[in-house]
């Protein structure tokens, strides 16, 4: 038996832009155990509900994470609306759906780039991000922000987009889809990519479910679970079939995300065809009193907002459980047995968002 060594990974690491620290117990080059230490981004923003009223808190919710900002804000608003029993206008629901799917495209393209960077395919990283900028341009034009959308509000959305512009965007997306396909084909067919991803970090179906994995991580292991099937926002009218893959390895997660990019484009196009006219927000009176667990599907998986109001303008408790928080235990179970060189790509396949995780 060879000697065991502990290799610290992070918090400042060239591959991960975010601080996550892992103690890797290593035997030769094989990791036998990984112990996480988190809290580098813990801000304690759940406590802010005591200082900001429930309308103002939307700005905080949107800034929990810069990548899934739109869906964070939307989930929070959904939770409050559910407690206050507000019927949000249809157009607002559709706009939320469209922006939510846009943020999925931009997040997945971002992830594809980072993953390519992690397995050493620099030009793929550049190409993914080049296309992502085009998506960001649409987002900036319609919402006013590149990463922080700032469109959510309790009772609707804060901005409208004209129907003509939506139609143009829908056509524009068709040409972008071709460009995205050029890049994703390399992910799917290139031998060097497969060599790095296939068979690495296999998570079985049972393990994925019982370790509480969510999102693409869970679906890549063959569990068809997608919160969009709950039918929040406009997903009632636009049914979504979860994309699954049976392999459960890094390659499977990559495939799921790539397919989801095209699915998101399809959802946007369908939503644009169906979007109703009408108001985009409603007047909100009174204060929330009650509790609700709002669940939505973020690019990284299911996010949960537990919102509890006590009839005053400040909420009593707001708790966020973000997808990365749920995916970390699963990845810790997968890491033992992998070689040290595979750790960055393994960690990246959960699409870690540490600022979400630690709030």
């Amino acid at each position: 038996m060879s000697k065991r060594t502990i290799i610290p990974f992070g918090p400042q690491h060239p591959v991960l832009p975010e601080p996550l620290h892992l103690d890797l117990v290593v035997e030769d080059e094989i990791v036998v155990e990984a112990v996480p230490s988190i809290g580098f981004i813990h801000r304690g923003l759940e406590k802010l509900v005591e200082k900001k009223d429930f309308n103002e808190f939307v700005y905080v919710a949107e800034r929990i994470c810069g990548i899934c900002s739109c869906i964070h804000g939307m989930t929070y608003c959904q939770g409050v609306e559910e407690i206050m029993n507000l019927q949000v206008p249809g157009r607002a629901k559709y706009l939320r759906t469209i922006w939510g799917e846009f943020s999925r495209i931009h997040s997945h393209l971002l992830w594809l780039g980072l993953a390519a960077d992690a397995f050493g395919f620099e030009s793929l990283f550049m190409h993914s991000w080049r296309i992502r900028e085009k998506i960001l341009d649409i987002i900036e034009e319609t919402t006013g922000g590149r990463v922080i959308f700032g469109t959510s509000k309790v009772g609707g959305v804060r901005r409208d987009v004209t129907n003509e512009r939506l139609k143009e965007i829908s056509v524009l997306l068709k040409t972008y889809a071709g460009e995205i396909k050029e890049v994703t084909d390399i992910f799917l067919n290139d031998n060097s990519v497969k060599h790095r991803l296939c068979g690495v970090g296999v998570l079985s179906k049972d393990d994925a479910l019982m370790l509480g994995a969510v999102g693409p991580m869970l679906r890549a292991s063959g569990v068809a679970q997608d919160m969009r099937k709950l039918g929040y926002a406009a997903y009632n009218d636009i049914p979504v079939e979860p994309i699954i893959d049976q392999s459960g390895d890094c390659y499977g997660r990559c495939v799921v995300r790539i397919k989801e990019v095209f699915q998101a484009i399809d959802i946007i196009q369908r939503a644009v065809d169906k979007i109703p006219d009408g108001p985009i927000d409603m007047k909100v009176t009174g204060f929330p009193n009650g509790e609700f667990f709002a669940r939505t599907e973020q690019p990284r998986g299911e996010v949960i907002y537990y919102i509890r109001g006590n009839g005053t303008k400040h909420l009593q408790r707001m708790r966020v459980r973000t997808p990365t928080f749920a995916n970390l235990p699963a990845i810790l179970k997968v890491i033992p047995g992998c070689s040290v060189a595979d750790i960055p790509i393994l960690l990246l396949t959960i699409d870690p968002c540490i600022s979400c995780t630690e709030r």
Partner: protein, 122 residues
Amino acid sequence: MIESQPTEIVTLDRLKDAVRIKWAAHARLVQIGCTKTAEDQYEINYSFDENLKFSNLRIVVNPATDRVPSISDIYWNAFFYENEVHDLFGITIEGMAIDFKGNFYRMAVKHPFAAPAGQKKS
């Protein structure tokens, strides 16, 4: 209403049995979260999901006297949430799979959520 969310209130000693039933039904542990409702009364919610059906187990504890059993021997991933509940609320949880002993988050304030609510910074 997006979905119904039934909450079942269980006592501390029956918690593990109730969780085992969920495990047997192949429910996914969605989250464990704590809420302070009164000075010595904390609610802990254990949320589960069975094929998009949400359900919730709730225990009510007093951190000064009660010791909550860990469910991480049933759901291994629970240790993440339990360490969090311990660090933020100061609730004693026994038998966690990996016990960070209060070092899960390193914070300027100890157990920030246990502090009396409504303190406003001027």
